[in-house]
């Protein structure tokens, strides 16, 4: 199959969605001629016009609010927030409006919007342009949260997000934009709420989200050379979360590491770990759960510091050694 980048996969999904459904339109800062903050909407305004691919003023609250109003009244807006950090400026509309309306109106209104945004560190963009705040949104009933880790998932999940009748927060990772993957050239959807076993293994499960999936796969390769067989599970969607796939894997391997790029404190890894701890599987574990996440600091700009602020392949390998060394009880 042909290989395209994560960025192209997203562009293709948007293109196909615009072609498939008249109600779909895009809005955001610089998404027209400029092609979006990272190029995801490149060429789409030329193809679909300024009405359906709308440049907006720098007004995050209005971009989100317009999306809410349009979604409630029959359209299917896909809004771009240039950097995920700017979600703070749009927060009221996403958290108090988009997430709440279906419930507050007892199901009589739907808010089918997609918020696409570029998240994560690794570009030296410092503390206000590098955050992984997806956990914030995962804490809000009414929102769905997706974090695709490769091009194939990105395209299929974006199609699913656009077709979904709920507000969906779609977290793209800046460093993943250039990664290549096999992607069908036809539209397809991946169900929201289905985790994916990215690699099968026997001795240990790594549950990894977003950018950490590739690092986990790399670490698994290296561990294999030492005779440790690692299974890598990618939840893909934080809400709804496919706990079954995660627990099934751990039941098999009986050892687990959970890794996120986001800050570890009060983070999503705590959610996954708690689900494991609350399940009967916890009694069968051969080692305590190990949790890796970003350091509890604002993201520094300097390259070495930045790299140390998030889990790397080496830290994962250390964790693998630690977990494997635990004596069986």
């Amino acid at each position: 199959m042909r290989m395209i980048t994560y960025l192209q996969a997203i562009n293709e999904a948007l293109d196909e969605a615009l072609a498939q459904d008249e109600r779909v339109f895009l809005l955001g800062e610089d998404i027209g001629v400029y092609g979006g903050g990272f190029g995801a909407t490149h060429g789409l305004q030329e193809k679909y016009g300024r009405q359906r691919v709308r440049d907006t003023p720098i007004s995050e609250s209005a971009i989100a609010g317009v999306s809410v109003g349009a979604a409630m009244t029959g359209m299917r807006p896909v809004m771009e927030l240039q950097f995920s950090d700017f979600i703070t400026v749009a927060m009221d509309q996403l958290v108090n409006q988009a997430a709440k309306i279906h419930y507050m109106y007892s199901g009589k209104a739907k808010v089918p919007l997609v918020m696409r945004t570029a998240a994560g560190s690794g570009t030296g963009a410092a503390a206000q342009h590098s955050q992984s705040l997806e956990n914030w949104m995962a804490h809000i009933p009414g929102l769905k949260v997706i974090q695709p880790s490769n091009a194939y998932d990105a395209k299929g999940l974006l199609h699913a997000a656009i077709k979904d009748d709920n507000p969906v927060m779609f977290y793209e990772h800046k460093l993943l934009y250039k990664t290549l993957g096999e992607v069908p050239d036809k539209p397809y959807t991946i169900p929201i709420g289905l985790a994916d076993v990215k690699r099968t293994g026997k001795n240990l499960t790594i549950v990894a989200t977003g950018s950490m999936v590739n690092k986990a796969l790399e670490a698994a390769e290296i561990a294999q050379e030492k005779g440790i067989s690692v299974e890598v599970v990618d939840p893909r969607t934080l809400v709804p979360l496919d706990t079954k796939t995660i627990l099934t894997s751990i039941e098999k391997t009986k050892r687990v590491i959970v890794v996120t790029e986001a800050v570890k404190n009060s983070g999503f890894s705590a959610e996954i770990t708690s689900i494991i701890a609350e399940s009967k599987i916890s009694m069968k574990l051969k080692a305590p759960i190990v949790r890796l996440g970003g350091a509890f600091v604002p993201m520094p700009a300097q390259k070495m510091l930045e790299a140390h602020a998030t889990p790397q392949v080496e830290s994962l390998l250390d964790a693998v050694t630690q977990v494997m060394a635990e004596i069986e009880v």
Binding site: D21, F25, Q51, R52, R54, T56, P57, S59, S61, A62, I63, A64, G65, V66, S67, V68, G69, A70, A71, M72, T73, G74, M75, R76, P77, D92, Q93, N96, Q97, I101, H102, Y103, M104, Y105, S106, G107, K108, A109, K110, P112, P141, G142, K144, A160, K163, D164, D165, N166
Partner: protein, 332 residues
């Protein structure tokens, strides 16, 4: 700039007798929920719009059913004027399953999409961009719908006001922003909170028309709103209307009214009550007799008392209802 010159047809002339009835419905609805509250029968909060009935009826009341309103926490008048079922509103206030929102919204979130009521908001200023979004929907779908967005004077100091007005202007959206300037945001008088005389002047910064009117004059309100609505319907873009009015009651149930003088309240209540003004005009011009009006008032009170009595025996939501409607089912 993409502004179009639009010839506006004459304003819709409001039927004053019907309008008076609606205004009384709003007032009596609120008097009754106040009584229910005082009697300990009503849980939660509410923000009464007594004294502001002309902005509700002269605004939402002149729209087509297919037009939309976006409302605020002080919403009962807007909802009733737009045609929301009053029994369901009482039921919502009383936490019944038969309420507009099946008990999940309460006073501040009453919505009824079937009559063009896109819902009321508890976040001050949040409606501005949502209204722009609904207007964008209408524009993109090629319908002739217009959105009337209510907000208070205090709400114009939120960032969302400025973002939404600018955006509505550059896209020439069919939306009318309607500020009910009742002089206060909770305890803060608008005079102390902005350094301009007219809130409608803010429209200038966004290249849209701004108008300040007497919000207790039903005819002035309906005329101005219907002109703005027809302009919007015909591609003329948004308008900002500021209607000067007054809320007779406190901000909400907890308000001790320490921030304004009794004299000021009395002035507005005695000399500038929109209902009394309209009644006097109708009586003076021989359109309606005092006795007929009192009869109408009595009838509404009776009707509403019956509604409340019947709503009281409606069933409440079940515990299972707690978890429904968090997510919409299915795909597009």
């Amino acid at each position: 700039m993409n502004k179009k010159m639009v010839n506006v047809q004459q304003a819709k002339v409001i039927d004053k007798r019907q309008a008076l009835r609606k205004m009384w419905e709003i007032r009596i609805f609120e008097e009754m929920i106040q009584e229910l509250f005082d009697a300990g029968e009503l849980y939660g909060t509410m923000h009464l719009c007594i004294g502001q009935e002309a902005t509700a009826v002269g605004g939402a009341g002149i729209l087509k059913k297919s037009d939309w309103i976006v409302s605020t926490h002080r919403n009962h008048g807007h909802c009733i004027a737009k045609g929301t079922d009053i029994r369901s509103m009482f039921a919502e206030m009383l936490g019944k399953k038969t309420g507009t929102n099946e008990g999940k919204g309460g006073s501040m979130h009453i919505a009824d999409l079937n009559v063009g009521n896109l819902g009321s908001n508890g976040i001050v200023g949040a409606g501005f961009p949502i209204a722009a979004g609904a207007a964008l929907s209408a524009q993109m779908q090629g319908t002739d719908q217009v959105v009337l967005c209510y907000a208070g004077d205090g709400a114009t100091n939120e960032g969302s006001f400025h973002e939404a007005l600018n955006l509505a202007s550059i896209w020439q959206l069919p939306v009318v922003y309607f500020i009910e300037n009742n002089q206060y945001g909770m305890s803060s008088s608008i005079e102390q909170m902005v350094n301009i005389d007219k809130l409608s002047d803010r429209a200038k910064s966004y290249g849209i028309e701004g108008i300040t009117i007497d919000g207790n004059d039903l005819v002035a309100v309906s005329k101005t709103v219907s002109q703005a609505v027809e302009k919007a319907r015909n591609g003329g873009g948004p308008t900002l209307i500021e209607a000067l009015t007054y809320r007779h009651k406190g901000h909400s149930k907890s308000d001790k009214l320490m921030y304004r003088s009794e004299e000021e309240c009395r002035q507005w209540q005695e000399n500038n009550d929109p209902i009394i003004r309209l009644e006097s005009e109708l009586i003076k011009n021989g359109v309606q007799q005092e006795a007929d009006i009192r009869q109408m008032e009595f009838t509404i009170r009776k009707e509403f008392a019956d509604l409340v009595a019947s709503v009281k025996s409606d069933s409440e939501p079940e515990i299972e209802d707690l978890l429904t409607h968090v997510y919409a089912e299915g795909e597009a």
